[in-house]
Structure formats: C-alpha cells, structure tokens
C-alpha cells in the first residue's frame, strides 16, 4: 500500500498527506450525498466512546526528526501551555521543555541539541500558521494538524495576524 505524496517536504519520511484530515465520504468526493447510515458497521456505543462527551478533537502531531506521529486531543487541554506540556510528554525522549514568555508559556527544545522547535499548525484553509497567534478556542476550532518545526524551516510560514513575532 502506498500513499501518494505530491510535494513531500524534505523531512524524515513523514508523509504529510497522511496527516491531512479530510471529511471526504466513502468512495466519493466531498460535497457529495451524505454517508450511508450505520456504515461502517460499528456499534453506536463504540463510536460514542471513542469520541467522548464534550467532543474530543484528535489531531495528528508531527515532530521534525521524530520517526512517528502522535495524536493529541485538543479538547482535553485548557490552553496553549497545557497543550505544549502534553506534547512534551508524548515525545519526551526527543524534547525538552523550558519556561518561556508570550502566549505559549513555555518553549519546546530538542533534547539533544537544544535547538528550538516552533509549534505550527495547519488551519481549515490549508495554511500553516504559528501556534499561539489566535485565541485558544479559535485555534481548537480551526486546527487540523500540528507540526513541531525546526526553526530553520519556519521562516517560510504565512505571516501571522498579530504584529509581534
């Protein structure tokens, strides 16, 4: 099984098409008729249990240089600092966390080299933005996936709405 990748960024074999969450329907393009009721055949109890009360929002997280992806539930955290600490916990061998100022409250560094990771995310429009630029709730709404980028790559990002940074 191979997944297509038209423009894979020059990073350690991670296929970013893989991490794109699309709402496409079984075997058809988006904006088609609604999906078949009761398909795939998974018990309602199981569907609900996997999504949790209060709508869980699982997004995939990629870290430059880390060989695996993780998923984080944005709805389970109260704000940016909690999120970053959770990410630290998930990628613990590769990351270190230090106090920082600004929106995020802390910074994530490479545990080996001390180089800083810049948390970025892809929003609903497909643009890559810096994490922390919009209010938390807006971020949770619009975030599709997260990438902790090595600082050298972050220069190419879309300019952030705020004047700082």
């Amino acid at each position: 099984m191979s997944t297509s990748s038209n423009e894979s960024p020059a990073v350690s074999g991670l296929d970013y098409d893989d991490t794109a969450l699309t709402l496409a329907l079984p075997g058809s393009s988006p904006n088609d008729r609604k999906p078949a009721v009761g398909w795939p055949p998974v018990r309602a109890y199981r569907r609900n249990a996997l999504r949790e009360e209060g709508a869980c929002k699982l997004v995939k997280v990629a870290v430059d240089g880390a060989p695996y992806l993780r998923k984080v539930d944005l709805a389970a955290h109260g704000g940016y600092e909690a999120l970053l600490r959770a990410l630290y916990g998930m990628f613990a061998p590769c990351l270190a966390v230090v106090r920082g100022d600004g929106e995020l409250g802390c910074r994530l560094l490479d545990a080996g080299t001390g180089a800083e990771y810049v948390p970025t995310y892809e929003d609903r429009d497909g643009d890559w933005m810096l994490v922390g630029d919009v209010p938390w709730k807006m971020f949770v709404e619009s975030c599709k996936r997260i990438r902790l980028m090595k600082t050298s790559e972050s220069a190419s990002l879309a300019p952030s709405p705020s004047s700082q940074r």
């Binding site: 009761g38 055949p41 993780r70 984080v72 916990g89």
Partner: protein
Amino acid sequence: MTYFPEEVVEHIFSFLPAQRDRNAVSLVCKVWYEVERLSRRHVFVGNCYAVRPDRVVLRFPNVRALSVKGKPHFADFNLVPPDWGGYAGPWIEAAARGCVGLEELRMKRMVVSDESLELLAKSFPRFRALILVSCEGFSTDGLAAIASHCKLLRELDLQENEVDDRGPRWLSCFPDSCTSLASLNFACIKGEVNAGALERLVARSPNLRSLRLNRSVSVDTLSKILMRTPNLEDLGTGNLTEDFQTESYQRLTVALEKCKMLKSLSGFWDASPLCVPCIYPVCAQLTGLNLSYAPTLESSDLTKMISHCVKLQRLWVLDCIADKGLQVVASTCKDLQELRVFPSEFYIAGYSPVTEEGLVAISAGCPKLSSLLYFCHQMTNAALITIAKNCPNFTRFRLCILEPGKPDAMTNQPLDEGFGAIVRECEGLRRLSISGLLTDKVFMHIGRHAKQLEMLSIAFAGDSDAGMMHVMEGCKNLRKLEIRDSPFGDAALLGNVAKYETMRSLWMSSCTVTEKGCQVLASKMPMLNVEVINEVDESSEMDESHGGLPKVHKLYVYRTIAGPRDDAPDFVKIL
C-alpha cells in the same frame, strides 16, 4: 425408558445441558415432556417476540437462568428506529409471577426500565446474576435497586449499555452485608463513582474475580483496589491518562505484579502512551487484551506491549496498530484464537492504516485463529485465498472493507473468489460478514460450500435476486440472514418461503422488496411475523416505485408462535 421412575429420567436428562438436546427429548412422549420441562434450568430465547413470556414461564416454572434477546443485530448500527420494541418488562413481570426461583437473567439489545429492574430486585430471593448487553432505557437508579435488594448478588455485568447517569449513589447501595460479589462490570457508566464506596465494596468481596471499572476511576484508586484483589482474573482499568504522576503509576505496577491470576485486561480509556510500561509485568500471563478504546496509542506503543504477550488468545485493538504492528502480533501471539481490529476514524474516506497485508501476516503466524472481525481499507483475492489456506479453522469471519463496493486493490476485480476460498477451506464456518465489490458469484460459492453457516451479513453486494436465492437454497443451517443496500427483491424474498420457518430471522433494508411481495409472504406463511418498518423521514429516493409498487425501506421477518405483537409502534406494520 418409560418404565423408569421419573427421578431416573430426570437424572439422565441432567447430562443434557444443551437446549437443543433438551428440546429434542421433550418431543419423545408426554412423560418425557413433563419431566424435561420441570427440570429445565436454563432457557434461551433468541428472539423475544418468537414466544410469549407467559408461555415460557408456564412451561418451565423451575428455570434458574433465563436469557432473552430483543432487537435485530442491525440495531447496533442505528438501522432500527428507536421505540421499535424489545421491551424487557413483560419478561420480568412474567418471571416474577411464574418462576420465583430465578437466579440469573441475561438480556441483549432490549429496552429495560428502572421499574423493571426494581421489580427484578424485589421478586427473586435467590437472584444472583444480572448481565445486560447493549441494552437501554434504564438509569443508575435501577442499578441502585439491584444493589440494595439482591442480597446474594454474585454478578453484575453491564456491557456497552446506554445508561442514564443519575449520580454515584448506586454503588453505595450495596449493603455492608453484601460480600458475595464475584464479578462487577460498570465500564459503560459514564459518570463518577464514589472511590471510597468502591474500595470498601472491593474490600468486603473476597470472591471478586472480575472487575471492570469506568473512566472516572483514577490510577490511585485502581492501585489501592488491586492491592486488595490479588486473585483477580479479569480487570478493566479506569482512567489512564494522568500526566507524569509517576508515583501513582509505580504503585499501580507494584499492585499489578501481585495479581498472579490476572488473565484478561481491558479498559485503557484514552490511555496515554506513558502508562503502557506499567502494564508490562502482567503481559506475559495475559490470555485476553482489549486495547480498542485507546485511540492515542500508536503502533509502536501497542507493539511494545503486545511483544510481551506470548500467551494471548484474544486481542481487540484499533487499526492504529497498522500492518507492521499486526506482524508483531503474528510473530508473538502463537496461541491467538480471536482477533478484532476496529477502525479508529469513521469519517475519513475509507482510509485505515490496516490492509490485507496485516491479515495475511496474522494468518501465517497464528494458525489457531478461529474468530475474526477486521476493518480495513482494502483487500485482495490473493490475500483472502492465502488466509483461507493458512487458517482453515475459522468459525467466525467478518471482514469489513470501509469503502462500500470496493474491488480487489490489485486487480480491480470483485472479491468473489477470495470469499469463495474462505467458505471452501473453512468447513466449520458458522458466521460470515462480507464486504467490498461482490457479484452473485460469491453467493453461489456460499450456497455451495458454507454448509455450517448460521449467520450471514451482506451489505452493498450482489447483482440480482439469484444471489440471495443461492444462499437460501444452499445454506442448510442458516438461522440469521441480514442484508442491507443490495439488489434483492420479491423474487428472492419469495423464492423459498418454507425456509423462514427454519430460521430465526431475516432482515432486509434498502433492498428492492415491495410491499406486495411482503404481503404475499405473510399470507403464505402465517407462522411468521412480517414487519415492514417505514420511517417518515427517510430520503425521498427510497419512495421511488419499483415496477409500479412502493419499495419497502426495512423488512424484518421472524418465525413466532406468539402471533403479531401488540407493542409495535406506528411506523411498524405487521402484515
């Protein structure tokens, strides 16, 4: 045999626990019928509408264990509208009137009210075990009644029910004198429970062998409980998502290490990868492991855990495990008998990290595999043929390719030959679910080879009536047939009407059956209930005429000696 005193006949019958055998001996003569019915201890009712509760209770007044099933299987997938039926009330009321010696009640897919639970709790002085699976309609108040009044309660097992949570009070209703609990499963209760009450309950239950907690129970409480239950055989964890509370996890590991009898582990609600290592000490002794509620565990976490589980016989897991994870299962779990791989995401266009390769690896590594439920995003005929050769012992084979009607991923052909190989090689196959692109040919194979098949589930498959007719003709042991979104119409429905009397039920939804066809069936077979379920808010395309006749949305046909049921809602027409 008629010259033996009845006590001797009864003693001989006690060696026949199976319902089928007991049904058979009761037909021999009146004496045997009487002896059998008065000594029957277990009664299983596969369809609650096949017989009236009063009749069961009248015939078997000394029954100790009653098991009743309600809604059809497709109700699990929201295909049966709410309020369709399946009420537990009449059964509990009848039992309360006619067999007060009842000790055990098992119900699946039924609607149970708090009032019924209260009646149950108060009517049977020797009541010991309540098992509710996929039921709804009750709240924790009903559980409070059970806890309060069932003095000899040994087992309270709530599996995947929809329970209205009215607070933690119910758990505290077990009196201090209740020390008989051997099995407690409240994993499906959504809210908090009182940790202190739980700990005290466990402390006074020396026979506790099976304990399944819900999400609200903390690691701390779990570790305290486990220190009290070194003889525990089956554990469902509570909450395992706490960050970095390493002392709690260390306590948990220490407590788990003491549980030398622990064979089965489940729960892992949203388990964090950090908690996984604390389970390692018990992995080597596990025969059952359910990780299917842990979507944040990635393939590497899962394989690290599973690589220790050399004795595993039953594994339930999410497709996050990916093909490479299944390869680790295949090389580690040589005793594997049952595997279920569930999808972790339902809305992404038929994508899953699990493919035919994972299943081929499993089949090669785990020759004892007999029960499979596998959701994947693609399959090939070649893979299915290999799998069939590797694992001829399948008794249950359920394959769900996420995209309806998807062909062989390599050849673009239908998957008829692949499933054909499965039914040919697996002579003991009793349950089969098929998916992907399938023509009438697959049904020809099924009809020809699946001689032991009892249950068949079909979705988005087939070309014509001939498909269904192959199955109806060939599958001599068929008991349950459920079909959705397939082009089978009146000719198929009416092709072999006598067969429905030998089956428990037939379900057909979004097929091409018409009301006229259903009428004909109903008039030819008076011992069947032919239920036509039409919902008002179905999309209009279903109202299109087929040959000038309105199509039936949903059809449920079952044999019955109870006649048409009187609790049917407006949208159900019994012909």
